[in-house]
Amino acid sequence: MELLTLVRDIDNAPDNTAPERIARSRAQVLEALAERPRRRARWVWGGSAVAGSLAAAGIVTAIVVGTIVAPVATQPASAAAVQVLGDAAKVVIAGVDPVVGPGQYLRIRETYELVSLWDIDENSDLSDPLTGFNTPTFTTSEGAVHARGSRDLYVPSDRSNDWILDDRTTNEVLAVYGDDRTLPAYERMVAAHPQRDADPGGLDALPGGMQEWDPDFDDDDQYWDPLRESYDEMPRDPQDLLGWYRENLTTSSDDWYLFQAIGRFLSTDVMPADLRAASLRVLGLLGGVDVARTVDGVTTLEMPAQLDEGGEFGDLLVSELDIDTSTGRIVGSREVYPHRGTDLLPAGIPWVSWHVEVAVVDEAPAP
């Protein structure tokens, strides 16, 4: 038999599981494309590591729920929500931002929580502890790990200087659900891939806020605040700005997407104040936004969205943003699937959530 024919025949048997893998990969890719406006794709090896890297990348969602999401209702934001957002915009314009003096830094501390799923059937190969965490879904998982991580970004008073990203903290396990072997499996994975799955990303200097994602590609660098180069051109009229966001966030013009994306842009707190104020008012132009609760001066806005396919995450996505009414800042966000079809972990645990604090500090750690 001819040599190259033999090569062609090696490992050439049909694989009936390929369509399933392709479908999962498709969902991963589409989810990442949907996040595109807020990050340049940073792909890492391993499913749960994806969640970790998403956390590190400072974006909203870490899960795959399908590609089509529709608003639950088409009614506009409630009057109460519009009022909260309008008041917050006024506070921002009034100028209550912390003053960062020469040589000082604005420290943005993000604390996030996320859920990693574990599929025991995929974890039979102990030589590669990542495998059980590679392709988790609620319907196939035997365990779940709820973990918390944090990182600090130091923005210098002169933003052309180095920004410092301190992501050295290892994620902390808050709770483990399901099979008793879940935690040992998680610990094996973390031990094998600490820099990815326990998310200690190290201590880095970002020149002028520019972050390098993939050293293999020169065109991959991106400012931490990715809209920076557009700040001047972005309209300050809320209706026009809404149009700008719909056009320039490119992925989706759906309101649920804008709600999450704008919320994350605002929470990093480095936009000009007038643009932040206008963006707050944009949130009040989105359909279905309502006030969920107010606790200790923090008002939580929510936006429900219908999941078109339902499935393991149920048929409802609820996105939430927490607004500190005294500063007009977004101090938290979360993503909840109240109808998800699993009893693996309590329904009240958000799939991913963020808490953001800012403070002025005199120094930053040196990389």
Binding site: L6, T135, F217
Partner: protein, 200 residues
């Protein structure tokens, strides 16, 4: 029907359009990656390939209608980043090759042929695994990716002549000891070294 080139242009403004590129080529790319890295690693590698392709879509050469060579080139690069996984998979492939899986109802001669072929493939696996990355990716794009030399050149960003020289070199390297191809390899080596002339 839109060409891949059309879709990639459209994806500049509407990233979700890239899903159509995925749907067209994912089965081939997945198969290529699965055969190189194994099923466990194929899914993530497939995702990484298409995300990298999306990120680098501006580099797509629109004089080509099909994105397949370009995508397989990226997939090959992704696979090359996971050498340990690939090496492990090649060992598994070698161990799994047997001649006992009849695909037809052929007789004794056919069964004997299958066993011979299996033995030959089993012997080939470690030789392929031992090739340099450049040689191996060229060979596998040719044999598994089913690309023509011109397409491999596009995939790897090398001249067509380099593709052919690599394939010829690989054929010699992986040929069984004592075969005509192997003897040619020996002769070529001797000529390169100048020793053949000296003996003559």
């Amino acid at each position: 029907m839109s060409t891949d080139s059309d879709i990639i242009r459209r994806a500049e403004q509407a990233p979700q359009a890239f899903a159509e590129v995925f749907d067209r080529h994912a089965p081939v790319v997945e198969s290529f990656l699965r055969r190189r890295l194994g099923a466990d690693a194929a899914q993530d590698a497939l995702s990484e390939t298409f995300l990298t392709a999306f990120r680098r879509r501006a580099s797509f050469d629109h004089t080509w209608e099909s994105a397949r060579p370009w995508l397989l080139g990226i997939a090959s690069r992704v696979a090359a980043k996971h050498r340990v996984t690939e090496a492990k998979h090649w060992r598994a492939v070698e161990a799994s090759i047997t001649g006992s899986n009849p695909t037809t109802d052929g007789g004794i001669d056919e069964a004997g042929g299958r066993i011979d072929a299996a033995a030959a493939m089993r012997a080939l696996a470690p030789r392929i695994a031992a090739l340099s990355i450049k040689d191996r990716e060229t060979l596998l794009l040719y044999a598994w990716g089913d690309l023509k030399a011109e397409e491999i050149a596009v995939a790897l960003g090398i001249p067509v002549g380099t593709v052919w020289s690599r394939i010829n070199r690989v054929r010699r390297k992986i040929a069984p000891p004592g075969s005509r191809t192997a003897r040619l390899t020996w002769i070529a080596k001797e000529m390169d070294d100048g020793t053949l002339d000296a003996r003559a």
